[in-house]
Symmetry: C2
Amino acid sequence: MKTLKYSRQREELYDLLSSVKTHPTADWLYGELRKKMPNISLGTVYRNLALLIEAGKVQKITVGTSTDHFDANTSNHYHFVCNCCERVYDLDMEVMENLNQEAEEQSGHKVTGHSLLFYGTCNACKEKENRKDVLQ
Amino acid sequence: MKTLKYSRQREELYDLLSSVKTHPTADWLYGELRKKMPNISLGTVYRNLALLIEAGKVQKITVGTSTDHFDANTSNHYHFVCNCCERVYDLDMEVMENLNQEAEEQSGHKVTGHSLLFYGTCNACKEKENRKDVLQ
DNA sequence: TTTAATAATGATAATCATTACTGATTACAA
DNA sequence: TTGTAATCAGTAATGATTATCATTATTAAA
């Protein structure tokens, strides 16, 4: 059984991820952390994200793009991903717990959870589009 | 405007993907196609999958594992992925079209669709577990 | 305090899925 | 036929993530 030791890098990483409302990629976190700790390496970011996920303090969000996103909010909630800028947003919709049971009854598989992801164009990108139209 | 020309490789790929109930990876499709066409290359599989997706005849399914899965059933439906073997199954549940509007009203973003993915342990893996217990 | 055990680090190499490139081949409209 | 553009196989490149390794830092016990 491996016990965690304190590390400044992990603490700063978790503080940063907890402080943002967005759902950053490992690379974005790396860039931010380097401002305070110029020697931190990308491997350390990935390694500590994995440890925090294992500890149940962080969740990984996969949205179909090439890079994963991370979230310090581990409570079950739904996301929206913008097809245009690939940013991930939280949605304030109630979680449908009953769906798991419904899926289990229908399929016979043991269902432990679900993830619901909406996609489309975010407000920021919609406005950018409108500005482009005007300039046309 | 680029027009598609006939290709045996693309036809066989689509026939194969249409014929299976599973949701194979590019590499699995490659392995199967090589039985008939030993010289086909993995790049050709990926290139034609992309063309078929663009043509709306195939959809890509991302389930949080390292590799993408593909599905010739492009109608909107939900999936189950096994945490154990990573296989992807179709679910026969009715699609909740109303969710898009609900998410749009709540967030203000333009919502064009959603994907709902259940996870847990599939029947095949549950049985394998049971067999292990017996042998213990 | 020292010390000993071991977790964590930065740097870098390796991996793995996917994409891009290239020169040869093929489909197909004129 | 023939011109041309799509497609191919083979291979190199890419990009995200993971593994390795020698060194450093944390922690609990002496």
